[in-house]
Symmetry: C2
Subunit: 135 residues, 2 copies
């Protein structure tokens, strides 16, 4: 049995990695890991991802200090996605929110996903940190 | 502002979609959505995904009957991932577990992710349904 890096994005074989608060079960972020990122995560117990935009591996929190300490790791039926239950230092989102999922889509509207209006989206979380203070 | 289908897998532009139990916050599964799958999900309030292996759009539960009813949708800072809070009929996993993440990785071992041994993985959930009964 092995972790299945079966999906390829821009030539890099990856799995999906979801970071979830180990106490509250709040989903903090989702990103990708290549083999090296998962190995470093297992070795250091600090979450590392593969950045598809910068095309490099990164330690979450390397510039902000907001690292994610690994508590538990779960793998799915297809072995191509993991949940990392973490203890989050500071905030997960680079915009200063605890979670990257701070926006809710308003399902009552007949929305166009390629042209979202102000009334289609609601910010449902509180900004805890000024991004200018951490980057 | 728009949903950003910036990642491409096998030529299909996708976002990551996490299904989370709307009551317990348990993560049920993670998969991909292309534009059509997200639009159908919004329109029907039943979760549709893009299957990267079968290269087709699918209604979750179309063969098993175990559909996911949309309660809330959240979108992340980069607008390239969504959480769908759902009411799950039956079980989410095709192997008969409530969640696809029914296996925990044992962090105490010095594991090789390309050759996982029996002692590296623990099944931490209960099989609720016999897969032969639903497919």
């Amino acid at each position: 049995m092995k972790i299945n890096f079966r999906h390829e994005i821009d030539g890099e074989k990856i799995i999906t990695a979801i970071a979830q608060d180990y106490k509250t079960n709040e989903i903090l972020m989702v990103a990708n890991m290549n083999k090296l990122a998962l190995e470093k995560t297992l070795k250091t117990k600090k979450v590392h991802y593969w950045s598809t935009s910068r095309k490099k591996q990164w330690l979450k929190g390397e510039s902000s200090g907001h690292i994610q300490k690994v508590k538990y790791i779960y793998v799915d039926c297809d072995m191509d996605a993991v949940i990392i239950k973490v203890e989050q230092s500071g905030v997960a989102c680079h915009e200063g929110y605890k979670t990257c999922f701070f926006r809710k889509i308003n399902l009552n509207n007949n929305i166009n996903i390629e042209d979202l209006k102000e009334e289609d989206i609601e910010i449902v979380d509180e900004r805890l940190v000024n991004p200018d203070d951490i980057y």
